[in-house]
Amino acid sequence: MLKGYDITIGLEVHCELNTQTKVFCNCKNEFGGEPNTHTCPVCLGMPGMLPVLNKQAVEKCILAGFATGCSINDIAHMDRKNYFYPDSPKAYQISQLYHPLCSEGLIKFSFTDDEGTEQQSQVRIERIHLEEDAGKSIHDAWGKSSLLDFNRCGVPLIEIVTYPDMTSAEQTCAFFEALRARLRFAGVSDCKMQEGSLRADVNLSIKPVGSDTLGTRTEMKNLNSVKAIYRAIKSEAKRQAEELSQGKRIIQETRRWDDNKGRSLRMRSKEEANDYRYFPDPDLAPIAVDEEWKNELRKSLPEMPAEKMKKYMDEFALPEYDCGILTSDPDISSFFEAALNHTKNIKSVSNFIMVDMLRIIKETEMEFSDVCFSPADLAQLINLVDTGVINISTAKTTVLEAMFAGEGSPDAIIESKGLKQMGNEDELLKIVQEVIAENPTPVQQYKEGKQQVIGFLMGQVMKKTQGKAKPDTVIELFKKELI
């Protein structure tokens, strides 16, 4: 919150579509690679070359429209946006200005505001249009020249433009996460921010509390993580407020966010901005989306996270919070759903995923999609716990970690590590008796009514059995022995 001011925020989100080939040529659409090995005369803008539009890119743009509640326009055109830049080989970007594919959408979401209150919110989408991504300039160490790699050039990109409906960093980040989840569930992009397949520009202005007139806005570019969006909003709102408090004017300009330094720097003012000279690209025919095509695509749209969440709550009777986590990422929800095909213990699958698996994933800084074992493996592990073959704490630590390390299926890991639970009463009785003999003081305390000492005694048994003792049996034995 900014004292005395209201913040107004709009986003322009760029999202690379996960097609096999680029949007106007048959080059591979893939992150990385040796420089210029995913290029051809078309995406390098060589003389006489012509673009041919990738149908899948159009369809994924339309799916993104459906996923965000947009209307799909009957006719869309490709336009040229003219500007010279080293990573733009034709010196124009093929984009859509006058007739985009999708217009007027809405996303509902909830977020926790800066006072910790849960808020329901919605942000309107102005448009989604299809365009091509640019290449990359690599600046060499001695600063004399720049090297150009066009592998990314021509990768299909959609730009999602929101209305300026957001008023805080918390709300903006929550919206962004909701949008990202929808795009991922729609299957149109991997949305990997660290690889640049999802990027956001933030338009921000402030105005005195209660004022009806919007302030002058700035545009911030180069926001490569949700954290960066959050920090950039906080920082820019503060900067603008400081300028105003010093009696200065806010200048309409583009600023570049430097996440390392935690501040933004001026790139260019509105006056220096290019005149992009948009006009309809004569090389590309209009796109006509009839009802039949729309319906076909609408039918193919996978379930969106909000619907899925409702289903989980209704059908599986899981808590809202758990469902929220399970539906935050399509990789998680599909893993969850697949595991349910192999076990009946829904609650346990949910717990294993949202608590234990996500903990390990976070600790090891991996993505859920990097998990190397199958949902069936997780289900097997849960079934082994439920049938008493191993105890739950061994399952959640030793076995699960071994599974993440790719050491094989749960039963193989249990076998090779000798983790099978000791359930044999005669064997366990001996150990229980040993523990009682070795710990006279706690035993005395227990007998005097201090029930919780049983935990300590259990721990001693586990130590002697390397955690393999079946807890229920041990407790029964203690109770019998200590009467």
Binding site: T39, P41, L147
Partner: protein, 95 residues
């Protein structure tokens, strides 16, 4: 309409062209002459007439997203005035 030297300079900067100061007058005059000729379009009534950006009436020229094709990178770089490994090289980019 009249064309000014400032306009010509601005247009040249957008087009990344340099017009010699000594040619500027002549160029401006010539531009003005051509623009005046183009102005003759303003004599017509275009009320209610839709612009024709595409004369063919073709729609949805789309290709399937099939298996990627690789082009010989060496050939692509063979016309490069300067290159480093498989990159095109240019003087440093000043922003």
């Amino acid at each position: 309409m009249a064309v000014t030297k400032e306009q010509v300079k601005y247009i040249a900067s957008l087009a990344k062209l340099e017009i010699d100061e000594k040619d500027l007058d002549a160029f401006t005059k010539e531009m003005e002459q051509i623009i005046e000729f183009a102005d003759s379009l303003n004599t017509i009534d275009t009320e209610g007439i839709a612009p024709t950006a595409h004369i063919q009436g073709i729609e949805n020229v789309l290709r399937p997203d099939s298996t990627p094709v690789q082009f010989d990178t060496e050939k692509l770089l063979s016309n490069a005035p300067e290159k480093v490994d498989t990159c095109f090289s240019v003087p440093k980019v000043v922003e």
